[in-house]
């Protein structure tokens, strides 16, 4: 195999995406490698850890077709440091890979491609979704997913695809986020819900960062995302997703409208003096304003008052400051709507005038 790459940055970007997928040590050595394959006039590079797999077509000139696998980490490190000149990548005897660029020659020991796991292609029926919509739905929910290993089925985003809408849901048991959009093209015949592991979700955003349209294809226990240049395969998480519809409050009668930037700034500043063990931040809501306060014994205390654009309640409530900040930060309108019931029930945060996004946060008990 003999290949020429003129665009170092393109090549590097693709390899770095794959490096995130390639398995670490303590697994099959070949899984820490990227596959480089030149066939049918196309150069493809791929990596997989058997949970998530990505293959990307990269621009380049094929002088001689062939295939090899080589350490993802080492390849990324070398390419990153090379000058922005033409890179020649070729295979030599005994599965060696030779990289020549400028005055330098780098030889790394690879492994034959025969043992590299098969990678799927998009076949049969698929749906399409607007790339920006997909990225936005992930962005507006992912922060609420659990990263605790024991709750494996919460370590992912729940994609709920129905003939009417597409929903993405994330929760860690204390907060929850839902983003929705129009249904897929063509619409699914009946509702289907799948849990996609967080690792795959992060790679979707990177791999399809600029795609205008993304294809989605469901198989037994896998989901495939693809555009013209890349295919991402992920194993689905097994397990029953919590019945999230039941916990969305319908009788939160206190409605407050706040300026988002003003509120976010105040929350961030006051949170600096929240107790590092609990991150508790307190909201004292009155007719026209909300007083945001926090204190930590042996450290100090802070408060800031934020004017309400509208409000109808009088209530004291506390939250984990981090949850509140992250939810507010992901709302994409100028003002944010906060809906409350009482100091022990879930709060709802929404964009004003839009119904495609909702965050739920359970409060913390007020410290006496």
């Amino acid at each position: 195999m003999e290949l020429l790459f003129n665009e170092k940055e393109d090549f590097l970007k693709s390899i770095q995406v794959l490096q995130g997928v390639a398995a670490g040590r303590n697994t099959l050595p070949i899984l820490s490698n990227v596959l480089i394959r030149a066939a049918n006039g196309q150069i493809q590079i791929a990596a997989t850890d058997l949970e998530v797999g990505i293959q990307i077509a990269v621009p380049g000139t094929i002088l001689d077709e062939g295939a090899i696998t080589v350490s993802a980490k080492k390849l990324a490190e070398i390419i990153r440091e090379l000058p922005a000149e033409e890179i020649k990548l070729s295979t030599t005897a005994n599965d060696r890979v030779e990289i020549a660029c400028g005055e330098g020659v780098y030889k790394i020991i690879g492994l034959p491609d025969d043992d590299f796991p098969d990678l799927p292609s998009i076949q049969g029926d698929f749906f399409t979704i607007d790339g920006e919509v997909l990225r936005s739905m992930i962005h507006r929910t992912e922060f609420s997913a659990s990263t605790e290993e024991t709750r494996y089925f919460l370590n992912g985003l729940y994609f709920y695809l129905t003939p009417e809408t597409t929903k993405v849901i994330a929760t860690d048991g204390r907060r929850l986020a839902i983003a929705s959009s129009d249904t897929l093209t063509p619409p699914p015949q009946e509702p289907v819900g799948v849990i996609i592991p967080l690792k795959a979700v992060r790679e979707i955003t990177k791999t399809f960062a600029e795609s205008a349209e993304v294809k989605i294809c469901l198989r037994d226990n896998q989901i495939i995302f693809a555009d013209d240049d890349a295919i991402l395969t992920s194993r689905l998480v097994e397990g029953e997703y919590p019945k999230y519809q039941q916990i969305i409050p319908k009788d939160n009668e206190i409605h407050l409208t706040l300026n988002l930037e003003r509120t976010l700034g105040a929350l961030r500043r006051v949170a600096l003096l929240s107790n590092p063990k609990t991150y508790s931040i307190r909201l004292d809501i009155e007719e026209n304003s909300v007083k945001i306060s926090a204190k930590t014994p042996e450290l100090g205390e802070a408060y800031e008052t934020v004017e309400l654009k509208s409000g109808n309640g009088d209530i004291q409530i506390a939250f984990d400051a981090r949850f509140l900040i992250e939810a507010v930060r992901h709302i994409e309108t100028e003002d944010v709507l906060l809906e409350l019931k009482d100091s022990l029930s879930a709060a709802v945060l929404k964009p004003v005038g839009k119904t495609d996004h909702l965050c739920l946060i359970m409060p913390m008990r007020l410290e006496s």
């Binding site: 303590n26 024991t150 709750r151 929760t171 048991g173 916990i247 609990t278 991150y279 739920l360 008990r365």
Partner: protein, 357 residues
């Protein structure tokens, strides 16, 4: 592999621990077949059998009635669990003279990481010999030790040369050691997995090694990956010195088998209350609830469910246990034992409220 081969792990297993303690404390029992546990007429179970009794085919967890039939001269002594716990603590004190990396897995079993030991002894085999000698002289008990580069192999090794054994697996001997061992020796291979492996034509660890990682993961999920590594003698789990409880459970063996669902539920209610009380006393909340069933033919089945939110509530435990009971064959076959357990602790801020409660 370099780092792996540098670790020195010892697994120590006290020989017939409860029975040996009884024989040590009461000279009249020495040399006699001793069974620790409940009386046969009360449907007791063998908690431990001395080596003299094991010669007759008696083993722990066997119904006392069966044990007595196999070994007519057996002396039955009641289980003094708090006493064994005390002796176990004395043994762990000895371990801690060599290393702080002591991970207890049961009263009579521990892992020790002696790569860096307090005595500066270069060979783990010497450490194991020294520990065994100290247990013998100070506590008049014998132990079997397995020495290996990791926990998986060390545990296998301690089982090779019982009682009073010492078995060493050196890094270069791993492959030969594992080659012909039956697959069920592998950690995590229970009867169901064993059956599936047999169906795949795999009887020995050597045969298991021929199966690709992909296939094992496809067949068994994540644990398939563990099997792949274990089959090669690879195990990088560290020795955890923490001594915290991993689960809290209660179980009851019934005087007569239960066939009525109502009676089973009544038992589950009592067990759930006991577990909840214990959880609350320890200030723990768990997310994973487990039901254990032993059928009249003595086979055991467990069913678990992980909840989105942790709980220590007796109603939550009870209703999950009832749900899980429906996933067993209890109604069809009846039950001899029921057990309820809670694990997977929730370590979070007690002020934070949860969504799914």
């Amino acid at each position: 592999m370099d780092e792996e081969s540098r670790r020195k792990i010892i697994h120590i297993d006290l020989d017939a621990f409860f029975a040996s303690v009884e024989q040590r404390d009461n000279p009249e029992l020495r040399g006699k077949p001793v069974l620790v546990g409940g009386k046969p007429e009360e449907r007791g179970v063998v908690a431990a059998a001395s080596y003299e009794a094991r010669r007759f085919g008696v083993h722990s967890a066997m119904p006392m009635k069966t044990a007595v039939r196999l070994c007519r001269d057996a002396v039955i002594v009641p289980n003094r669990i708090s006493h064994y716990r005390h002796v176990s603590e004395q043994i762990r004190e000895i371990f801690r003279k060599y290393t702080d990396l002591v991970e207890p897995i049961a009263l009579d079993e521990c892992f020790l990481d002696v790569t860096q030991n307090k005595r500066g002894m270069p060979y783990a085999t010497e450490v194991a010999k020294s520990i065994k000698a100290q247990i013998r002289t100070e506590l008049s008990l014998t132990a079997s030790a397995g020495v290996a580069p990791n926990k998986f192999l060390a545990k296998m090794a301690s089982d090779m040369d019982k009682p009073d054994g010492l078995f060493v697996i050196k890094p270069h001997g791993i492959e030969v050691f594992l080659e012909n061992l039956p697959v069920q020796k592998i950690w995590g291979v229970g009867p169901v997995t064993e059956k599936r492996l047999h169906e795949m034509g795999i009887e020995t660890i050597g045969q298991l090694r021929e199966i690709s990682l992909e296939r094992l993961i496809r067949e068994f999920g994540k644990v398939g990956g563990d099997f792949y590594h274990f089959a090669r003698g690879v195990d990088d789990r560290p020795v955890h010195p923490r001594e915290e409880r991993k689960s809290i459970s209660r179980e009851t063996t019934f005087a007569t088998d239960l066939f009525s669902t109502e009676k089973m539920k009544a038992q589950l209610r009592q067990l759930s209350e006991d577990v909840a009380q214990c959880l609350q006393a320890e200030g723990l909340r768990g997310r994973r609830f487990t039901l254990k069933v032993r059928y009249p033919n003595l086979t055991i089945q467990t069913r678990s469910q992980t909840l989105p939110a942790a709980s220590a509530d007796k109603e939550a435990i009870f209703s999950t246990a009832v749900d899980l009971l429906q996933k067993t064959e209890a109604e069809q076959f009846g039950v001899r034992l029921l057990g309820v357990g809670v694990s997977h602790w929730d370590e979070e801020n007690p002020l934070q409220l949860r969504l799914f409660e």
